[in-house]
């Protein structure tokens, strides 16, 4: 049991990193959203497995939130927004795919080196989880900085947040995990469903952050 549970958790956390990599080279918004839904699905499995292994039933709630909210509701809502705004064309990336992938590999290597070195005393399962979680967080950040489009930045932020949930569930018996995932969901719901995209649409006829940049402070 011990060996198996470790292997499964390892496999799922590793897959999450892999899916994060897949986000890096998507050049269409629809595809990016589908990959994000997959990301959330893998997270759900991983959290559910942790709930089972740690015998922590409250983690099933977190898994449920990840499944319903992140894998279904948000992608569908964003899909609709994209259709409505008519921006299903190519994503404008700041950096090319090749350099982005290389950077991503560098970030994963960095997080492995940092986390594995400092957690020598910790439980091996938590150790691996933490290292993978940091990789997912950093890859999410990378998605955010390499995209100019508001929708893809939100996707980057959500995958970053998935990494945090992975870390929180990997930390054995951490209290408030459910509350924190709810807080994050509210945060995301706020932007995605609501105010920002609609307002940005309303005022700019664009969700391209570069358009926003034109109105920067000092020039007026």
């Amino acid at each position: 049991m011990g060996e198996l549970s470790y292997d499964v958790a390892h496999l799922l956390a590793g897959s999450l990193v892999l899916v994060s990599f897949m986000q890096l080279y998507q050049d269409r918004l629809y595809a990016l959203l589908n990959i994000f839904a997959l990301h959330a699905l893998v997270l759900t499995l991983s959290v559910a497995w942790q709930a089972y292994v740690q015998e922590a039933p409250h983690l099933y709630v977190t898994a449920g939130i990840a499944l319903v909210f992140k894998a279904i509701v948000i992608p569908v809502a964003l899909h609709r927004i994209i259709v409505k705004l008519g921006i299903h064309r190519e994503i404008e990336t700041v950096v090319g795919v090749g350099p982005t992938m290389l950077l991503g590999m560098g970030l994963v290597a960095l997080s492995m080196v940092v986390m594995l070195r400092v957690t020598t005393d910790a439980d091996p399962l938590a150790r691996q989880d933490l290292a993978f979680a940091l990789s997912v967080v950093l890859l999410g950040l990378l998605v955010m900085v390499t995209r100019r489009n508001a929708v893809s930045q939100v996707v980057g932020f959500m995958s970053l947040e998935n990494g945090l949930v992975l870390a929180a569930t990997g930390a054995k018996g951490m209290p408030l995990v459910v509350e924190i995932s709810v807080a994050f969901s509210i945060l995301i719901a706020f932007i995605v469903i609501g105010i920002f995209l609609f307002r940005i649409r309303e005022r700019f006829d664009s969700v391209d952050i570069q358009t926003l940049d034109r109105f920067r402070g000092e020039r007026r």
Partner: protein, 481 residues
């Protein structure tokens, strides 16, 4: 001493109830008064905390350290609500705000107060994180409330950078939990600050070090430390001025407070890296960077936003140096900066309303056309630049002298940064307050009381600090290590 009510509950419940009421109540007069009343009651409840503190529980804690912050936060929250009432009346007249948004604005103001008080009183590092996230979210919404291009851009930028900041802070929080896990065992205890600080000596130092780096980057973003400050000038310049005052005077402090809690944690562990040098470096960097940035500002609110970065840099530097004297000075500087900067924003808010613009080039000769506002601004700038005998002079003097005694090289950079900022502020002030009147010169319908109350406090503190206050601050300084 027993009180007829539970002050801790009151400090949290009053803003929460007021927020719920303000969502449903109509009318500007009623809601703005209710807003003022709620913040006043919260302030009184916070004051009563000095006399009767509850026993720390797993979620809430009141000690000498956060009591300073709570009283300061609720006080500035109260005076800002008074200022906000007259400021918002003008915004309604000019049609920049609609009644629906006004309702939203007042409710959000109370939610922000609730979130800040919760963050300050949290004894649980998870609750503290959630509260700071809530505070960020409410301010994002308020920064974007005018719905202009600039306001939305500022809100979006603030949102993205703030979210990344709090995400990193959460990762740091999880790492602290991981470090505590082998010592305290799984469960709630490993997130309760009082438990953590009692047992931190046995934590794995390597894990704590990495955790602190994440916390410093995460909460440091919210403090506005360079190079993570990019959101701050935009958010200050584009939101309603009462929010600029609250952001500068309070929210930056709350984030800094979170950092200080973790700094204490690291200081307890003998093998962990000393957090001081990291904070000193970021503090000095922010100070010098912001001082130079002050020169080329053309927008008045943006200029004072950079001045906030400068002062947060000085405060972070002081706490980074550590030791009883520097901590005392840092605490005093933080208090004085909150009072002075919000007073300046009160003046700036009305000035921008009179002139109909925030461009410095369109303002001039204010001391002639609007003497009360003009001289209020002059006094505020004199205070913030650190001229004697005002409060900031004293705290800066203490920081500089204590640094000279220990690290003369750092003190040189510190003084250099302060002087550069000083020059920039007076260069701009000269054009705004004196010389040929420029722009519209109508009289302002302003409430001057909050501004002058703050300035009087700063002036009074520069001349005489009451011994109980000094003893209190010294006690906190010892706590900070």
């Amino acid at each position: 001493m027993t009180l007829p009510f539970e002050p801790v509950t009151a400090v949290l419940a009053i803003p929460a109830i007021a927020a719920a009421l303000l969502v449903v109540l109509p009318g500007y007069r009623l809601t703005s008064r209710l807003n003022v009343l709620a913040t006043l009651l919260t302030f009184l409840a916070a004051l009563s905390l000095i006399f009767g503190r509850p026993v720390p529980g797993p979620y809430l804690l009141v000690d000498d350290l956060n009591n300073v912050f709570i009283v300061l936060t609720t006080f500035v929250g109260f005076t800002t609500s008074v200022f906000s009432a007259s400021y918002i009346a003008h915004e309604l007249e000019t049609g920049r705000l609609t009644p629906t948004f006004l309702r939203f604005y007042h409710a959000m103001y109370q939610v922000l107060m609730f979130a800040m008080n919760l963050a300050l009183m949290a004894n649980n590092i998870g609750v503290m994180w959630v509260a700071i996230e809530l505070a960020t979210l409410t301010t994002v919404l308020m920064v974007g409330i005018y719905r202009t291009h600039e306001a939305l851009e500022a809100a979006w930028k603030y949102f993205i950078l703030g979210s990344v900041g709090i995400a990193l802070a959460l990762f740091g929080t999880i790492l602290v939990y991981m470090a505590a896990l082998p010592v305290t065992g799984a469960g709630l205890d490993a997130m309760v600050w009082t438990v953590l600080v009692a047992r931190a000596a046995d934590f794995d130092p390597a894990l704590l070090n990495v955790a602190f780096v994440f916390l410093l980057l995460g909460y440091g973003t919210k403090v506005g430390l360079a190079p993570l400050h990019a959101w701050l000038p935009d958010a200050h310049a584009e939101g309603p001025t009462p929010i600029s005052a609250v952001l500068s005077g309070l929210l930056l402090n709350v984030a800094l407070y979170a950092l200080l809690r973790f700094k204490i944690l690291l200081a307890v562990n003998p093998n962990a890296v000393a957090p001081g040098p990291l904070m000193v470096t970021m503090g000095l960097l922010s100070l010098v960077f912001a001082s130079f940035m002050l020169y080329r500002r053309r927008d008045i609110k943006r200029m004072f936003a950079y001045s906030s970065i400068e002062h947060m840099g000085i405060i972070t530097f002081a706490f980074g140096m550590g030791g009883p004297l520097a901590n005392f000075a840092g605490l005093l500087h933080m208090t004085m900066h909150s009072l002075t900067k919000s007073a300046i924003f009160f003046a700036v808010g009305h000035i921008a309303q009179v002139k109909g613009t925030q461009r410095i080039a369109d303002m001039g000769g204010l001391t002639e056309t609007n003497p009360v506002l003009g001289w209020g601004l002059v006094l505020g700038v004199v205070a913030i630049a650190g001229l004697p005998p005002l409060g900031i002079f004293m705290s800066e003097f203490l920081i500089v002298t204590s640094t000279f005694a220990r690290e003369p090289a750092l003190a040189v950079i510190l003084v250099f940064g302060i002087l550069v900022g000083f020059g920039a502020l007076f260069l701009r002030l000269n054009g705004i307050a004196f010389g040929e009147p420029r722009g519209p010169t109508a009289a302002a319908q302003a409430s001057y009381v909050p501004m002058f109350v703050h300035l009087a406090l700063v002036f009074g503190a520069g001349i005489y600090l009451p011994p109980p206050l000094v003893a209190w601050f010294q006690n906190v300084a010892k706590l900070l290590g």
